[in-house]
Structures are given as structure tokens and as C-alpha cells.
């Protein structure tokens, strides 16, 4: 792995990583990729997030939906673990709570595949350092 030797190298790497992330979202020209992030902190794992993550990885592949399933840290919704964030290209990312295998199946079939409304979305209740004015 190449070392980062200067500020300009860090900046260059950050930019290439950011554009890589953009490419991930729009892999194969307009054929975009669904992203699923599973909250895998101690609390989430204890509530079964690992099974849910495995289910998404296996099933999305089996059902031939091109997607990127990654783990992330705690989203803060302990009461609703396991929680996941789904980003369907062209839509805002949404967070689902209380995701068990059955719910995961519903999210894949109805929300990801057919873009239907699915219950269990947790509304975003915070501002970030990038969009404080909201």
C-alpha cells in the first residue's frame, strides 16, 4: 500500500476516493448500484445485524440485484436495532429500523426492486456538519 507523504497527496487521495464512491453509485454508465449499509456496532450485532447483513449479501446476489452491502457503525437508534440504510440510486438514502430477515426480504422485494413504500422508515432527526442550515 502506498504511503501518503504530503498534504497534497492526502487531498489527491481523498478526491479519488470520493469520485470512486460516486462511480460505485453509478457503475456501468446509468445502470446504478443499490447500497445497503448495516449498523454493525456491538448493539446492532447483539440484535442480529450480522444475520441481516449476510441475508442482504446472499439474497441480493441470488436475486441478481447489483448492490453493495457494507457494514457501518452505530446510527444511534438503539431502540430499533438492527437498523440499515438503503440508498437506491436517484433517491435519498433511507434508514429502516427493526430489520429482521422477514423485513429484509420485504425491503429487497418491495422497496429495492419495485420502489414501493415500505413501513419502518426512521426519519432523519439530525443535522450534520455539512448541512447545518437545515
Amino acid at each position: 500500500m502506498t504511503k501518503v507523504n504530503s498534504l497534497s497527496e492526502l487531498k489527491a487521495r481523498r478526491e479519488s476516493l470520493q469520485s470512486r464512491n460516486k462511480i460505485r453509485e453509478t457503475r456501468d454508465h446509468n445502470q446504478s448500484v443499490v447500497q445497503v449499509k448495516v449498523a454493525m456496532a456491538t448493539c446492532g450485532i447483539a440484535s442480529g445485524a450480522r444475520d441481516v447483513m449476510n441475508f442482504f449479501s446472499d439474497e441480493l446476489e441470488k436475486r441478481r440485484i447489483e448492490a453493495l452491502v457494507t457494514q457501518t457503525g452505530c446510527m444511534g437508534y438503539c431502540y430499533a436495532e438492527p437498523t440499515i440504510e438503503v440508498h437506491v440510486p436517484g433517491d435519498e438514502p433511507v434508514v429502516f429500523g427493526y430489520v429482521d430477515i422477514q423485513k429484509a426480504d420485504e425491503i429487497i422485494e418491495r422497496y429495492i426492486r419495485r420502489q414501493e413504500q415500505v413501513d419502518g422508515i426512521i426519519p432523519v432527526g439530525y443535522r450534520t456538519i455539512d448541512n447545518e442550515e437545515d
Binding site: 500500500m1 476516493l17 456496532a41 456491538t42 457503525g73 452505530c74 444511534g76 431502540y79 450534520t128
Partner: protein, 484 residues
């Protein structure tokens, strides 16, 4: 409304991918500080930001760094305190599990500012996932040259190692933490000398909490003025709280300083479970106090919480409803303190044990009104004479419940009654002859055979045998059994 600063990357990045972190500005602050600023200038920015220690004490972080930077030594150390020990608190664990690189980056900035080349993270072995992710993060940062020799070509060397704690509460106190890292007993020593003069292995050492570190990279990227503009008079920025207890949305939240308890509990937290009545919230864990309905509209910051008889603490918030007994709550915390006292100084070792026994007597209905004065006196003595922060604050839950819920103590003492029906020794299950139909269901479910009565006749409970398990009340279909 929440504002995520310390938690800015938690839940967004893959914590095991340094590339994810770099794409969201990780190590950009370190690069900026190393390339553009002298240590003294960087410390000045931190001072201007107004950041105060998030572990509970609230000491200005910039000032702490300045003191450590001015002590000359051949070797200095930077220590991250990840010995989160308050019951019901999990802020630091979530940050370490969700965004480990921010802590590494801030520790490196700290090292540059005070002239330390070595960092240590003191983390409890009870956090295996956080340890695993930190190890991965450290390895990745070394591979990228973001830890190690000559970082960003600046000539500055810095590396980080982990040190494991066995989960002792007292090791969150910085001198006890340092002794534990040295392989000594985890016991505090008198301050001064402060760790900034003589800490790990006798060298100048700067100890900061995980959440304090998580704020630091953003301060350098967005500027001291930006950070200073968030919050109240002497409390700047945001605070992460772990909401727990009788609240609908148990979870991790981050709000600007100055947000009210009402917003935290009723808006963000979604109110009390089952629509019950809010009674109190314990902030600051075993060192803090309870805040009640009259405190709901006070803006939360370091100074207001102390004025209200509690403290910020590390950020645990345990919400209680009308069914919770405040004497039992104080007893719970004293039980914890007795367990966690290291035993080095007598006021804490013996005093807390006696305080616990007095509370136990009260909850068993064997106390007298004179106990109140004795309790308060002993609380003051333990506070004034204990060696470290653990004993100096451990009576706080008793004092604050005595101040805010005096009538509950009186009820336990003079009426031998627990108003919330929590103290088992002070309650009796009784059968209402009006409603009892003599179905015998209660008698069959009673595990100790305390209920007698013939079929179709009114039953009765022998209170001398009854263990107050409540099984009969649950079983009765006719609402004939209740607590008196």
C-alpha cells in the same frame, strides 16, 4: 434538533476502511496542523474553540494541552481514556466502533502540540469489537504512513498502542488509569502532581476522553470560530448522550450545548414509555444527580447542570418514570460505588458501605427520621475527605434525591411506605373480598403456598409467607389482588 459533530462519521463509513474515512476528511486536520501550524498556534486554536473535556470534568482541553506542552521532558505521552464505566453509558464505545480513525487522528494532533511521540489508548477489555476495530485502524494508518515516522514529511513521529483495562470504574480517574497502564494497581494518587507534569512512567502525560478527541479534527477543519458559535456561554459545541431507561427512543444522540432536557426527552427521545409520567433523569451516572420536572426547561450545559445539583458527566442519561422509587435508585448507585471503590482511602471504602447500609435499612422500612440527618452528614464527610473523584462524588445520588424527593424519604421512614411500590419490604399483596370469586387460580400459582381459601370462597394471603413476587396479581382475572 440534533447536530452530529463527534458522531459525524458514525453510521456513514465502514469503520474498518481507512479509505471510507479519508473520503470523509479523516487525517485532513492532522495534515493541516502538521504542515501549516506550529504547536503553539494549534493549541491557541483549540483554546479559542472553547472545547471542554467530555469525560465529565469539563476542564478546558486547550489549556490542558498548553500545560503539558510547557513541561520539558525527553519523552511525553498522549493517552486516550476509553475506560467508559458509568452504568448505562455507551457513547465512547459507539465512537470507537463507528469512527476509530477520528480518535487516532486527534491523538496525533495532540502529540504534535505537546511534543509527544507516543500515544496510548486505555480501553476496557469488555469492548472487544472496539478493540478489534482500533487494531485494524492503527494497522491501516501505519500502512498509509499516517502513523509512524515523519508523518506528511513534517519530521513528526507518532505511533499509538493499546492498553487494556479490566473494567474497573475507578480506572477512568486519570491517575488510577495511568497506574493501571504501568502495571500497578488501579488506584488513584493525590493530585498534584498532575499527569501533565508527572504521568505515565513519571513523564508529562496528557489524558483526554474519546469524545473530546472526536471533536478535535473538525475544530481544525472548520475553525475555532465555527465551534465557538455552537453552544452556550462557557459550554461550546455539542454533547453526545446515551439515552436509557423508561424512554421510547433509547439511543445515542448528539445535541448542541444549551438544548433543554424537555427537547432531549420528549422530542428526540419520544417521551416516556407507555405514556407514563416523567419523574426524573439521572445524569452523570453514579457521580451525578437527578433532575426533575422543574429542571426540564434548563438549557443543558456544564454550569447549569452543576447549579441544578447534578453534573454533565460523560453523558449517560437514565430516565425514570412514576413507578421508580428514588430511594432505591440512590441505593442502586451506592451498590455500584461500593463494588467499584478501590479501597485505598477509608472515607470511600467504609463510608460508602455505611451509606449503602443506611439506604438499605430505609428501603426495608426499618429506618427512623433521625437517619436523614445522619445520612446527610456522612454524605458530606465522604465527599469532603475522599482521595479521588469517585468518593468525592459518590454521595451525589443520595444528596440530590434527598433534595428533590424529600417526601419519598419521609414516606419510607415515618409511614413505612414506598410511594412507587418498588420496595418489596414495604408492600403487601391483598385480596379484595368484593372482587374475589374463589376461583383458586391465585393459590395454584403462588410458589410459596401463601394463599389459602376454599373453592368459591374468599381467599386470603398470609403476608408472613408471601415473597411479593406478584404472580397472583398477574394471574387473577377479576382484579381482586392489589398492592397495598
Amino acid at each position: 434538533m440534533q447536530l452530529r459533530v463527534a458522531l459525524r462519521n458514525c453510521g456513514f463509513i465502514d469503520p474498518e476502511s481507512i479509505d471510507d474515512a479519508i473520503a470523509r476528511d479523516a487525517y485532513a486536520a492532522l495534515a493541516k496542523v502538521l504542515v501549516e501550524l506550529k504547536p503553539a498556534e494549534a493549541i491557541e486554536i483549540l483554546k479559542e474553540s472553547g472545547l471542554r473535556g467530555r469525560g465529565g470534568g469539563g476542564f478546558p482541553t486547550g489549556l490542558k494541552w498548553e500545560i503539558a506542552s510547557k513541561n520539558e521532558a525527553d519523552q511525553k505521552y498522549v493517552v486516550c481514556n476509553a475506560d467508559e464505566g458509568d452504568p448505562g453509558a455507551f457513547m465512547d464505545r459507539s465512537i470507537l466502533e463507528g469512527d476509530p480513525h477520528t480518535v487516532l487522528e486527534a491523538m496525533a494532533i495532540n502529540g504534535y502540540c505537546i511534543g509527544a511521540s507516543k500515544g496510548l489508548i486505555y480501553i476496557r477489555a469488555e469492548y472487544p469489537l472496539a478493540i478489534e476495530r482500533l487494531k485494524i485502524a492503527i494497522r491501516q494508518a501505519r500502512e498509509y504512513g499516517l502513523l509512524g515516522k515523519d508523518i506528511f514529511g513534517s519530521g513528526f513521529d507518532f505511533d499509538i498502542e493499546l492498553r487494556y483495562g479490566a473494567g474497573a470504574f475507578v480506572c477512568g480517574e486519570e491517575t488510577a488509569l495511568i497506574h493501571s497502564m504501568e502495571g500497578e494497581r488501579g488506584e488513584p494518587t493525590f493530585k498534584p502532581p498532575f499527569p501533565a507534569e508527572s504521568g505515565f512512567l513519571g513523564k508529562p502525560t496528557n489524558v483526554n476522553n474519546v469524545e473530546s478527541y472526536a471533536n478535535i479534527p473538525v475544530i481544525y477543519l472548520k475553525g475555532a470560530d465555527w465551534f465557538h458559535s455552537i453552544g452556550t456561554g462557557k459550554s461550546k459545541g455539542t454533547k453526545v448522550f446515551a439515552l436509557a431507561g423508561k424512554i421510547n427512543n433509547v439511543g445515542l444522540i448528539e445535541v448542541p450545548m444549551g438544548t433543554t432536557l424537555r427537547e432531549v426527552i420528549f422530542e428526540i427521545g419520544g417521551g416516556i414509555i407507555d405514556g407514563k409520567k416523567f419523574k426524573a433523569v439521572q445524569t452523570g451516572g453514579p457521580s451525578g444527580g437527578c433532575l426533575t420536572e422543574k429542571h426540564l426547561d434548563i438549557p443543558i450545559d456544564y454550569d447549569n447542570l452543576i447549579e441544578s445539583g447534578s453534573m454533565m458527566g460523560s453523558g449517560g442519561m437514565i430516565v425514570m418514570d412514576e413507578d421508580d422509587c428514588m430511594v432505591s435508585m440512590a441505593k442502586f448507585y451506592l451498590d455500584f460505588t461500593v463494588e467499584e471503590s478501590c479501597g485505598k482511602c477509608s472515607p470511600c471504602r467504609i463510608g460508602n458501605k455505611r451509606l449503602y447500609e443506611m439506604l438499605d435499612t430505609i428501603t426495608k422500612g426499618k429506618g427512623s427520621l433521625e437517619d436523614l440527618d445522619r445520612l446527610r452528614n456522612l454524605c458530606e464527610v465522604v465527599k469532603d475527605t475522599s482521595l479521588c473523584g469517585l468518593g468525592q462524588t459518590s454521595p451525589n445520588p443520595i444528596l440530590s434525591t434527598m433534595d428533590n424527593f424529600h417526601e419519598e424519604y419521609i414516606a419510607h421512614l415515618s409511614d413505612k411506605r414506598c410511594p412507587s411500590g418498588q420496595c418489596k419490604d414495604l408492600m403487601n399483596y391483598v385480596i379484595d373480598p368484593e372482587n374475589c370469586v374463589g376461583c383458586t387460580a391465585c393459590g395454584r400459582v403462588c410458589p410459596v403456598g401463601a394463599i389459602t381459601g376454599e373453592k368459591k370462597e374468599i381467599h386470603s394471603i398470609d403476608t408472613a409467607i408471601c415473597i411479593k413476587c406478584g404472580a397472583c396479581e398477574e394471574k387473577c382475572k377479576f382484579n381482586a389482588i392489589s398492592v397495598k
